[in-house]
Structure formats: C-alpha cells, structure tokens
C-alpha cells in the first residue's frame, strides 16, 4: 500500500504547501486517478525528458523513455513504497533505465566523446526554481569533491549506460578499480542525500 504520510525524499521541486506531495499524488494514481498522473507529469515531466534526452540525444527516444517511465508508475503505483524511494528518485531511475536501453538498442556509439551530459550551464535554468537550485548546489558540491576520474566513471555509467568492463576498456583501468571508484563516487552523492537542507544565510 502507498502511504500518504511522510514527505518524500529527494524532491525535484521546491517545497510548497499549495501543491500536493508526490507521495499523495502516487496514492491517488494507485486509485486510478488520471488527473493525478497528469499533475505528476506537470511536476516531473520536463526533468524526466531532460534526463532521457541527455542519455539518448534524440527527441523521439527521449519522449518514449519518459512516457514508458510514467506508464510504469501508473501500473505499479499500488506497490510503490515511499519508504524505499522518493517518487522523483524512482522516476529518475526508471527513465534512466529506459533511456539507456534505447541508447544501446539504437547502437549509439558508446564512449568518451559520446557521453558528456553533466550540465556546464546549470546555473541558468535551475536557478529559476529556488528549491531545485539549492539541491543542485549540494549535488555540485558533492561532485566537486570527486577526483576527475570518478566523475568520468559516474558519467560513463549513469549517462552512457556502460558496464564495468566497457568503462574499464574505455579508461584502460582494471575492472576492480572501476567498481571501487564508482562506489566511492556514489558514496559521496549519498552523503548529499543525508545532508541537512542548505540554507542561504545573510552575510555579516
């Protein structure tokens, strides 16, 4: 059963009392309420599409990956467990999996030059939404802590959908080193999940 209680982790959007929580929307979706699915799309649709596009690099494939993820949420809403994942985190994971599958089946060349998804221009669009900008800053702060190699491995794995073996070939490193570095990189991101909310403080 979907619990309506509790705030979902890893929100993609600013907190707002006027908007229903993601978990509450999913609870309505579980009851077969289409308008709740539409509302969830209005909140997360653009981020879902953006992620799919970063991976596939192609509008049609990106739309399909986003649509497939929302359709899956619709089908599985009743078994969605907010204790295990935030709605945003769940959607991101499913979009990413569908997009990676599309990338592979389309025979997109996988490799260093094809994967460069982390945004250099994140300042603009994300700053337009204060809550998301805060979260983005914390993610950037976490990524800043990573050695360049770990960031590269993270990109190749997450956006490129490469396996350990493929990343090892790409970077000419042992597979064990790739696994170890991927885990370290994700551990640093996990710290960000557990971090208290960032606050903007007036300067003295």
């Amino acid at each position: 059963m979907v619990s309506q209680a509790g705030e979902a982790k890893g929100e993609m959007r600013p907190e707002s009392g006027a908007q229903e929580s993601d978990a509450a929307l999913v609870a309505r979706i579980a009851g077969g309420d289409e308008s709740a699915l539409g509302a969830l799309f209005d909140i997360h649709g653009r981020a879902a599409y953006s992620l799919a596009y970063a991976i596939t690099g192609e509008a049609g494939a990106a739309e399909k990956a986003a649509a497939d993820a929302f359709a899956e949420l619709w089908r599985k809403a009743r078994s969605f467990d907010p204790e295990r994942a935030s709605v945003a985190g769940w959607l991101a994971a499913r979009v990413r999996d569908y997009a990676v599958a599309a990338r592979r089946s389309n025979g997109v060349r996988r490799g260093a030059n094809a994967v460069s998804a982390l945004a250099p221009d994140f300042v603009g669009p994300l700053d337009a939404e204060p809550g998301r900008a805060e979260r983005a800053r914390m993610v950037v702060s976490a990524l800043t802590e990573l050695p360049a190699t770990q960031r590269r491995i993270l990109e190749l794995a997450y956006f490129g959908g490469l396996t350990t073996r493929e990343i090892a070939l790409e970077l000419n490193e042992p597979e064990a080193t790739i696994d170890e570095n991927l885990r370290r990189a994700l551990d640093v991101l996990r710290l960000t999940l557990g971090a208290p909310g960032a606050r903007v403080v007036t300067r003295v």
Binding site: L37, A88, N181, R184, P196, V201
Partner: protein, 259 residues
C-alpha cells in the same frame, strides 16, 4: 563472494554496471538480504540526484507527450504488483537488529566514507588522470579552475568542515560535518585571510545538534577585490557576528584548487 564483497557490489548493481556471474550471484543473494536491498535503494536514490545537474531541455511538444502518457493510462488500469521486499513483520529478528546497528554506526560511517573518498585523491591513478584531463567532461570546466576548497581541522584530527569557493558563481559553499553547535548567544564566523591585511568576514553560520551544516554564502565585493586570499579561518563570535575576529582562529587552513 563474502557478504562484505556482496555489499560492495550493491553500487555497481544499482547502476547496472555489474555483469555476468557477479551479477547472478548478487541477484540470488538480494531477495534474502534486507541490508543489501537498502544499499541498492540508497545508491539508486543517490544516482537520481544527477538529474539536478542534467541540462534542462523542453520536450518539442510537451502537451502531446502528456496526452500520450494519459492515453496509455486510460488503456491500462493500475495493477497490484507483488512486493519484492518482505513485510517487516516477517523479518528475522537479527535482521531488525542489523538495521538498528546500521543506524547506530551511521555517523561513523559518514566519516569513514569521507576518508575513503579523500584517500582516493592521493593514492590512485595519477598518470591516468593526466591522460584523462584532456578529454574530461564539461563538468571539469566549471568545477576545476574556478573552484577552490579549504579543509578545516584541528591539528592531527579529522576535518570538521570544508568550504568551497566557486569564483564563477561567487558563492562559498560551507559544509560542516563535525563541528559542535555554537554555545548559546554565539555563532561561527568564517574569515578570508590574506598576508599583511586585516581578515575579511565571509559570513556566519551555525551547525545542527549533529555538528552538521550546509550553507551557501555570497562572496562579497570586498573579498573579490582583495586579490589573493591565502587562508580561511574560523572563529566563535557573538551571534550578530563581528567586524573583526575577537579571538584567534579555532580552525584555519589554506585554499587549494579542487583538482
């Protein structure tokens, strides 16, 4: 694989990079191990954060995409899927105990992870990194040269906090992870210190009861114009902050490049 090795595979499994026999072994282990399930969930959630640094693109026809999703929804009714995790009531008592242990060691774990991440910087892949620098991702272009970092620690102790200075965005990102909350009526204040000049305030912040804080402080014009800043210092000041430090720094460290 030992259980330790299995736990270590959770990240690769969550990212889909694990293959072959290792993947099979992990998949056969997973249904019976709540700890590994939680690890996989947490790594998936963490990886999902990368959506925040993905370039934002608007779908060519957002309304059509929305309608496509709703159309599909009208065709298929929601189903009740089997829960992949055991209901908590049926968990073996030792698993519940293990979960409590996980919580209990969480703070120690954070420090340990930090250490593990940090040691990586020094110990590995020096030559490979040089090679990689040329074809590194776009992220390096804004994280690298424009960002400085300072780690603040008491001598011979683990770092208590770090401050990132993003010159492009003109912000300090203050991350404290082991800094006891300031006493009543006091606040922490950071100082930009250049040789031969009076310290300039970077701003004030407070930590929570766990000694943690993540705070964004704007970089003032006076600091931008001060030229080269050598050090960052931390003092305890009256809660409204001070124009000049009222004590010698409790913690101090040199700014360095991120990479």
């Amino acid at each position: 694989m030992t259980h330790r090795e299995l736990v270590d595979s959770a990240a690769a499994y969550a990212m889909g990079t694990l293959e072959g026999d290792e993947r099979k072994e992990f998949e056969s282990h997973l249904p019976g191990c709540v700890h590994c399930q939680e690890e996989v969930d947490a790594y998936r959630e963490a990886a999902g954060l990368l959506v925040h640094v993905t370039p934002t693109v608007t779908p060519p026809n957002s309304a059509a995409l929305r309608e496509r999703i709703l159309h599909e929804a009208r065709r298929v009714r929601p189903i009740t899927a089997a829960r992949s995790r055991q209901p908590s009531g049926t968990r073996a008592p030792w698993l519940a105990a293990a979960a409590c242990l996980t919580l209990a060691i969480a703070s120690g774990y954070l420090y340990w992870m930090q250490q593990r991440a940090n040691s990586a910087v020094l110990t590995e892949l020096a030559t490979a990194r040089t090679e990689l620098a040329a074809r590194d991702s776009t992220i390096a272009s804004f994280l690298g040269p424009e960002v400085h970092v300072v780690s603040l620690a008491q001598s011979n102790a683990k770092p208590a906090m770090r401050v990132f200075w993003n010159h492009t965005r003109k912000v300090f990102i203050v991350t404290a992870f082991a800094l006891p909350a300031a006493p009543e009526g006091k606040t922490y204040q950071l100082w930009a210190i250049a040789e031969g000049k009076a310290p300039v305030s970077m701003g004030t912040f407070d930590t929570d009861e766990n000694g943690r804080a993540t705070v964004i402080l704007p970089v003032g014009q006076d600091i931008t114009e001060a030229g080269f800043i050598d050090l960052c210092g931390l003092t305890l000041e009256p809660e409204s902050g001070s124009a000049q430090p009222t004590e010698s720094p409790r913690l101090i460290g040199p700014w360095r490049h991120v990479d």
